[in-house]
Amino acid sequence: MAKPLEELTATAIRDAFLRRERSARSIVEEQFAILKEREVAVGAFLTVMQEEALARADALDRKLADGAQMGKLAGIPVAVKDNICTRGVATTCASRILEGYVPPYDAHVVERLIEEDAVIIGKTNMDEFAMGSSTENSAFKLTRNPWDRERIPGGSSGGSAAAVAARMAPLALGSDTGGSIRQPAGLCGVVGLKPTYGRVSRYGLVAFASSLDQIGPLARTAGDTALLLEAIAPRDGRDSTCTDREVPDYVEALEQPISGLTFGLPGEFFIEGGLDREVARALEQARRCYEALGVRFRDISLPHSRIDVEDGQLSSYAVACYYILCTAEASSNLARYDGVRYGHRSDERGDIIEMYSRTRGEGFGEEVKRRIMLGTHALSSGYYDAYYLRAGRVRRLIQSDFERAWEQVDLVFAPVSPTPAFRIGEKADDPLAMYLSDIFTISCNLAGICGISVPCGFSSEGLPVALQLMGRHWDEERLLAAAHAYQIHTDWHKRAPALEGG
């Protein structure tokens, strides 16, 4: 008897399909059986594409039978975050304003999934327009952390992380603007990678903050992460900010030796009171594991990513800089949702100004409105220099901090999140506290470099804890090799949440 699907990695599923041990149809049918059983408990999906997926599986079975050349992701079910456009399938960004919106085109990454013979199984829940760190800002449903259903899965790619953690999909795509892949991956105990800015085309990713957004993979293993990254990374002329660089063989790069590498420990991230004690302990263990693998650690400084603790309150330059830049860009990016051409339009009659304000007032949630207002203010004449331009300068300082770090170290070792997953509703009324869940992840976006979140233990309450590695521009290979080496020597990623009877 073959192993149950949920125990297989994506790579193993593809190999089983290519060796004709399993048909694509049987893979997809079993995947939907798991998905349906757990969806009620987890709430990871906004749209389930069973019919399309089965038709696609049959087509793949025929293609294989015809002896055609098969793609890298042949027969692998993949979940896609709902801010990535899928032609003919609703793409809502978990917002009322795009309720029922069906894009007329596929995002570049979706085209890539199809070209590599993956099977898209559904669209995952998220914070509205990717604004949030808990997925509680979805207009449509609550996603629960598979490890503790009273807790949030992280965000904004909470649906994708929860789906992978609950084995509802072996692979998922998310997007990361300030930690939106790495933080939910960390809180759900899976691997999540934010590629270097410009590595993956953003064409078809509904923009939140254009200069920070990046699509990336979530999976249970570094190997599967590498596989999905390799599939989505090829160049795309439709995104002017996308690189022309060749795509490295990320899967092959997994085996690169890590012995002799130097990891930097930013003193600013490991301060008294800045980290939950159990998170700190898990990171310390991970560090010892890496040392045993021949990695040297060295203290470094990222002064402009500094975190201050005063009266138990955290604060950070980087967080302030990030929230000015991302809200400024968002205020402009989200201006197009006006009810004129698509999406929600208010039923109330009135002149054009009334139509705009009612449509947007009804369509956007609280957090989105808050950020549009913040960003509009930051760009206003008289404030532009003090906010937007100054934040841009801080951003360059953060970038040069990393440049200096690369003179001494190969990768930066850091936490992903100050605490394990918090309780549903715990921070819902405190936007500042929520913003600080990104405190360790946003520097990576501001610097445009790549970062990965890797499970590295569990809290005493059984909640996943993760480590973060950050690398130079275009150095995803080393990130993946380091994550892979760690996973060979640990089995955190092999544990599965108990969802039976949930």
């Binding site: 793409t91 002329g237 995104d239 002017s240 900010t241 054009i352």
Partner: protein, 483 residues
């Protein structure tokens, strides 16, 4: 008290590209609404712009023709405002780093050459069109986004103009420059060329400017001149009556011939410009700049001066011939085959331009290529055919596409230039036109015209007029000597 006007103009010209600025949609005018659109120019969620390099090049060419300093690394900005014809509710334009700056436009004014400063030249995207449904009971508008994303050149002048006439000269000269450079078709009836004006008044000799009034919605040169005259008069009256001009933005109503203040909501615009994060900065390297510079043609004013200097044309002729680049090109192509500038100029101005004018077409549609036209002029200049015959042959060349030599041969249009051929005809005319002969012999020397006309009529215009005149005069002299 007379006030001095200080006028600045912003000119928007649609660039002559096949496709739009950020996507590959076509730019043809007059297509059915919303048929030249795609997710990118409709502002669908998730789309991104990719710069049309040709549009950038055309804008660069215009900036170079306007003697601008070129910013070698330039970027785009978003201008944020809400309007239903603007799909993203921001316009991608340039604000912080224009493609070109600090240039000038040379124009002829008051019998001399004037330079008007150009503050900047930049590239931006056009918006679509709102169609306000006028049918009774209709409470909605329609939007056509065919034009959304069409590349638009903006030329911002310094407030260097002081009269309606100067502003008019500026607009005509700039339009000619854009046509010469082939960067825009400048068809005002299709909205390819539009303006915004700023006007303030000051007492003569004073440095300090009065409050500036901006006027939008000027869709033709004529609209600008009308609007400027109206605005200068409006402000002068206000000042004369002891009032003050308020700084404001007004909207020109062409049908009503008046401007109106824009509503406060529309006036209090804060465009919240910031660099467009979906695009990367563009670097204009030396090679590219040189290639585009080489594409900048000799402009009308320079050509006009050269035509006077090198071809000995009159100012007037040179101006007529350089008005349109294609006409000037045609003229020079004719000269290449037959180097008689004055004669070629006359033929083009008197014949070709008249024909084109009557048919309301451009010289591009004129059937006779310059080489062939030059052959005809040469035949006339050498007396092979008379001017009258040449005009008829030109008509036949247009009709048949045959060359001049063939048609002269076929129609026997060659000039009757031998004395023995013309003498009998002259005799016939002298015998028949007794009245004119009497008049001439009686001292009315003008009567020679009537006699000559008669000779031409009898020869079907083919008589060599010089020879005919000579024979006539000789014979009349003889007749006078022997009564």
């Amino acid at each position: 008290m007379r006030y001095e006007a200080v006028i600045g103009l912003e000119t928007h010209a649609e660039l002559l590209t096949e496709s739009k600025l950020w996507c590959r949609c076509g730019t043809r005018f007059g297509e059915p609404p919303n048929t030249q659109t795609c997710p990118v120019c409709l502002g669908m969620p998730g789309v991104l712009p990719v710069l049309n390099k040709r549009a950038f090049e055309l804008a660069l060419k215009a900036a170079l023709a306007l003697h601008c300093v070129i910013n070698r690394e330039t970027f785009f900005d978003r201008k944020n405002y809400y309007y239903p014809d603007l799909p993203k509710n921001y316009q991608v334009s340039q604000n912080y780093c224009n493609l070109g700056r600090d240039g000038y436009l040379e124009m002829s004014a008051d019998g001399g050459i004037r330079r008007v400063g150009i503050w900047n030249v930049h590239l931006e995207e056009d918006a679509g069109k709102n169609i306000h449904v006028e049918s009774p009971g209709a409470d909605y508008s329609l939007v056509d986004l065919n034009r959304a994303g069409v590349p638009l050149l903006e030329v911002v002048s310094a407030p260097d103009m002081h009269s309606v006439e100067e502003a008019e000269a500026f607009m005509h000269t700039l339009r000619r420059l854009l046509l010469y450079c082939e960067v825009s078709d400048c068809k005002m009836q299709e909205g390819s060329l539009r303006f915004e004006a700023s006007v303030s008044l000051r007492r003569p000799g004073e440095e300090k400017l009065g409050s500036r009034v901006e006027i939008k919605n000027l869709n033709s040169i004529k609209a600008v001149t009308r609007c400027l005259a109206y605005e200068i008069e409006r402000q002068s009256r206000l000042l004369r009556e002891g009032g003050a001009v308020e700084m404001e933005t007004r909207l020109w109503d062409e049908a009503g011939g008046r401007s109106e203040r824009m509503r406060s909501k529309e006036r209090a615009q804060d465009y919240r410009y910031f660099p467009e994060p979906d695009l990367v900065p563009f670097v204009v390297d030396e090679g590219w700049l040189e290639r585009v510079q080489a594409e900048v043609p000799e402009l009308s004013l320079g050509r006009r001066r050269r035509f006077v200097r090198d071809h000995g044309l009159s100012e007037y002729d040179a101006r007529v011939l350089t008005e349109e680049r294609a006409v000037a090109d045609y003229f020079e192509a004719c000269l290449a085959a037959h180097n008689e500038p004055k004669s070629v100029a006359n033929w083009i101005m008197n014949e070709v331009l008249a024909i084109l004018n009557e048919r309301k077409v451009s010289i591009a549609e004129f059937e006779v290529p310059p080489q062939r036209f030059a052959e005809l002029i040469e035949a006339a200049d050498k007396g092979k055919v008379t001017a009258a015959a040449a005009r008829e042959i030109l008509g036949k060349m247009i009709e048949t596409g045959k060359n001049a030599a063939t048609l002269i041969e076929e129609t026997g249009a060659e000039t009757i230039g031998q004395e023995e051929d013309l003498a009998p005809i002259v005799e016939q005319v002298l015998a028949e036109a007794r009245k004119a002969v009497q008049d001439y012999l009686g001292g009315k020397k003008k009567a020679i015209g009537a006699l000559l006309g008669q000779v031409m009529r009898l020869t079907g215009g083919k008589a060599d007029p010089k020879l005919a005149r000579e024979i006539l005069l000789n014979r009349l002299e003889e007749m006078a000597r022997q009564p």
